[in-house]
C-alpha cells in the first residue's frame, strides 16, 4: 500500500510537463485545425499539394538521413575504441568527444565558415597542393549543412554507443574466437548485434536533432531551405502562426513515425535467446 504514495513523487514533474509541454502541444496542434470558425484539415492538404513545401521537406529529410548515416559510420568504430580504453583514459577521451556539444552552435557554425569558405582552410590547402585550380563551393550548400550537423551530433551517438558497448561481455568475443571465429567475424556476429539498441537510440537522437536543427542550416546552408528555417520565416517574419504550427505538427508526426520505424527495426535485429 505504501507504493501509492510513491506516485505523489511524480506529481511535481507531471504538473510541470502538463502545464508547459502537453498543454502547449495540444494548443499548437489544435490551432491548425480551425480556420474561419470551422473545423478543417485544409492547411495540411495545402502543404502536401505544394511542390515548394515538398521540396523543402525532401531536402530536410535527405540532410537528416545523410547526417545520421555519416554519424553511424564515423561513430561506430570510434565508440568501440573508446569502450575498450581503461576508465581514466576513457573519461578524458569521452569528454573531448563531447566537446562540440558544449560550444554554442553559432560559434561552431562560424568556425565551419572559416574552414569551408572560398578563402577557407580546405580550399587553400587543396589549391596549394595543386589538386584544384578554382576554389570549390562547399559553404552555403547542403553539403556544408551535413558537415556542420555531423560535427554537432556525433557526440550523441558516441555517448549512447559507448554506454551499450561497455556492457557487452568481452568473454563472448573471446569465446567466439576460441571456437574459431576470426576477429572480424566475432565483431560482426557479437559486437554489432549487441550494440543495436545503442545504435537505434543514438540514430533517433541524431535524426530528430538534424530534422529540427535551425542555427546550423540557417548559417551554413545557402539558398536551399530546411523545414526549421521555413517555420521561422512563417512565425517570426510573417507572423503566420497557424502555418508555423502546422509545420511544427508535420515535423512532430515525422519524428514519431521515424521513431516507430526504428524501434520496429530494432526489434527485428534483437538477438534471440
Amino acid at each position: 500500500m505504501k507504493k501509492r504514495y510513491l506516485y505523489v513523487l511524480l506529481a511535481p514533474g507531471l504538473l510541470f510537463l502538463t502545464l508547459f509541454m502537453i498543454v502547449p502541444l495540444i494548443l499548437t496542434v489544435g490551432s491548425t485545425f480551425f480556420k474561419d470558425g470551422g473545423f478543417t484539415a485544409g492547411i495540411y492538404a495545402q502543404f502536401f499539394k505544394d511542390a515548394y513545401f515538398l521540396d523543402i521537406l525532401g531536402t530536410t529529410l535527405l540532410v537528416s538521413v545523410m547526417t545520421t548515416l555519416l554519424c553511424i559510420v564515423i561513430g561506430f568504430p570510434v565508440a568501440y575504441y573508446l569502450s575498450k580504453l581503461p576508465p581514466r583514459k576513457k573519461g578524458i577521451m569521452l569528454a573531448l568527444a563531447i566537446f562540440p556539444l558544449l560550444t554554442s552552435s553559432v560559434v561552431r557554425s562560424f568556425s565551419w565558415m572559416i574552414i569551408l569558405g572560398k578563402n577557407g582552410l580546405v580550399n587553400n590547402l587543396l589549391t596549394a597542393l595543386g589538386i584544384i585550380d578554382e576554389p570549390l563551393s562547399i559553404l552555403y550548400t547542403p553539403a556544408a549543412m551535413i558537415i556542420g550537423l555531423v560535427h554537432l551530433f556525433l557526440p550523441l551517438i558516441l555517448i549512447t554507443l559507448v554506454g551499450v558497448m561497455e556492457s557487452i561481455d568481452h568473454d563472448l568475443v573471446r569465446a567466439a574466437q576460441s571456437l574459431g571465429a576470426s576477429r572480424l567475424t566475432a565483431f560482426r556476429k557479437i559486437v554489432v548485434p549487441l550494440s543495436i539498441p545503442g545504435l537505434i537510440v543514438g540514430s533517433i537522437l541524431v535524426f530528430v536533432g538534424s530534422l529540427t536543427a535551425y542555427t546550423t542550416p540557417a548559417l551554413l546552408g545557402g539558398k536551399k531551405r530546411v523545414v526549421a528555417t521555413f517555420l521561422y520565416q512563417n512565425a517570426i517574419t510573417l507572423n503566420d502562426w497557424q502555418a508555423a504550427s502546422a509545420i511544427a505538427t508535420i515535423m512532430m508526426i515525422i519524428t514519431f513515425v521515424v521513431i516507430g520505424l526504428m524501434n520496429k527495426a530494432a526489434a527485428k535485429f534483437k538477438p534471440k535467446g
Partner: protein, 354 residues
C-alpha cells in the same frame, strides 16, 4: 488506486497554486514600500552598446532620475515579443518596416508631437515615416551597393549592373523578409524599365538574378562574413556598415546607384500600455536632439536625422549626411509593403529561390 493517484496530483497542484499566490502578494508588498526610482524599459538592437550607454542612456538617466532597462534583439524577435503580449517595454527602436507591422497590429500608443521639441530640426523624410500619429525616425541611412572591384572584375554604378553576367555566383542579396528585401523588389521593377511599380516584372527580374546569388542574407554580419570568406563580391547594403566591411576587406567601395539609393529609416515608438508615456516621449525627443545626433554621427553609429548636425568631410565618411543626399533618397510606402509582404514572400520562395 487510480483515485488516490488523482487526489495526489490535485493536492499537489493546489498547494502549488497557493504557494504561487503567496509569492505574488509578497512581491507586491515589496514593490509599494519605499520610493523607488522610475524604470524605463527600452527595446533596441543592442549594437554600439557602449556608445548608447555612455552618450544616450546615462545622461538621460541622470537628467530624469530614472533607470533605463534594456531589452535587446533583432527587429522581428522584439516586435513579436510585444505582439504576444506580456511585455513591459516602454520605448521601442524599430526599422520603419517593422514599425508599420506594429502599428497595424495596434501595438503602439499615439505619440504626442507637442512633446517632441526637436522635431522641427528633423528632415521631412524622418518626421512621420509611419504617419503623423506615430513615432519619428531618429536616423536615415542609405541602402546602396558595396562591392570589391577586384573580385567583381567590373565597375558597378547602378542597380541594373547587378544583373551583369560578370557577377554570376558573386552576389549576395537581402532576403525578402529583411528590411531591405522589399526595396530590392522595387529596384527590380525599376530595372525592368517600368515607371510604375510592376510586381510581375519585378519578380521576373529577381528570378533572372537568382543564379548570380550565392546566398540571401538576413543579417549584416553574414554580409561582412561572405566578403571576408571570398564568397561574395557585391551586394546591396546600408552605408553605415561599409566602414566595418572595409576594415575586414580593404578596397571595398560603396556606390549610390544611378537609379537612386533607398532610405533606411529607424523609428522610435511608445509601446501600448506603457505606464511612462510622457517619459518615453521625453526619451524619444532626447534621441532626436542635436547633441545625441551629432555624437552618434561622429562615432559612426547612426546617420543623423537632425538637419542641424554639422560634420567635416572626414567625419561624414561612411555616414549618410547632408540634405543633397538625404532628400534624394527613395522611401517605400510601408503600408503598401506590409499589405503585399505575404504575397511577395510567397512568390520569392516559389519563383525566385527555386
Amino acid at each position: 488506486m487510480k483515485t488516490t493517484w488523482i487526489k495526489g496530483l490535485l493536492a499537489c497542484s493546489l498547494s502549488a497554486l497557493v504557494l504561487a499566490g503567496c509569492g505574488s502578494t509578497n512581491g507586491d508588498g515589496g514593490d509599494s514600500s519605499g520610493a523607488k526610482k522610475q524604470k524605463l524599459v527600452v527595446s533596441t538592437w543592442g549594437f554600439a552598446e557602449d556608445f548608447y550607454n555612455k552618450e544616450v542612456y546615462e545622461p538621460f538617466e541622470k537628467a530624469h532620475n530614472v533607470d533605463i532597462v534594456l531589452e535587446t534583439g533583432n527587429n522581428a524577435d522584439r516586435l513579436s515579443k510585444i505582439l504576444q503580449g506580456s511585455s513591459d517595454v516602454d520605448v521601442i527602436y524599430l526599422s520603419d518596416y517593422y514599425a508599420q507591422q506594429g502599428i497595424e497590429a495596434g501595438a503602439f500608443e499615439k505619440i504626442d508631437r507637442s512633446r517632441l521639441k526637436n522635431l522641427d530640426q528633423i528632415y521631412d523624410i524622418a518626421k512621420a515615416p509611419n504617419g503623423e500619429e506615430y513615432g519619428p525616425a531618429y536616423t536615415v541611412g542609405q541602402l546602396g551597393i558595396a562591392y570589391d572591384p577586384k573580385a567583381a572584375g567590373m565597375k558597378i554604378e547602378s542597380w541594373s549592373d547587378l544583373w551583369k553576367p560578370e557577377l554570376k555566383g558573386k552576389l549576395t542579396m537581402p532576403s525578402i523578409t529583411s528590411t531591405s528585401g522589399p526595396m530590392m523588389v522595387d529596384a527590380a521593377s525599376k530595372v525592368a524599365g517600368s515607371a510604375e511599380f510592376n510586381e510581375d516584372k519585378a519578380f521576373e527580374r529577381l528570378t533572372a538574378l537568382n543564379p548570380s546569388v550565392v546566398k540571401y542574407y538576413s543579417k549584416t554580419s553574414e554580409f561582412v562574413n561572405m566578403f571576408t570568406q571570398g564568397e561574395a563580391a557585391a551586394g546591396p547594403i546600408m552605408q553605415m556598415y561599409v566602414g566595418d566591411l572595409q576594415k575586414a576587406v580593404p578596397g571595398i567601395e560603396f556606390v549610390t546607384p544611378k537609379e537612386g539609393a533607398y532610405a533606411i529609416i529607424n523609428t522610435l515608438n511608445v509601446v501600448k500600455g506603457s505606464k511612462n508615456k510622457a517619459l518615453a516621449e521625453e526619451f524619444i525627443d532626447w534621441q532626436l536632439s542635436q547633441e545625441v545626433q551629432e555624437k552618434a554621427a561622429k562615432a559612426k553609429v547612426d546617420s543623423p536625422a537632425n538637419k542641424n548636425v554639422k560634420l567635416t568631410a572626414e567625419e561624414a565618411e561612411g555616414v549618410t549626411y547632408g540634405p543633397e543626399v538625404v532628400e534624394k533618397l527613395q522611401k517605400l510606402d510601408m503600408g503598401f509593403v506590409n499589405s503585399h509582404l505575404k504575397t511577395w514572400t510567397d512568390r520569392f520562395n516559389r519563383e525566385v529561390t527555386r
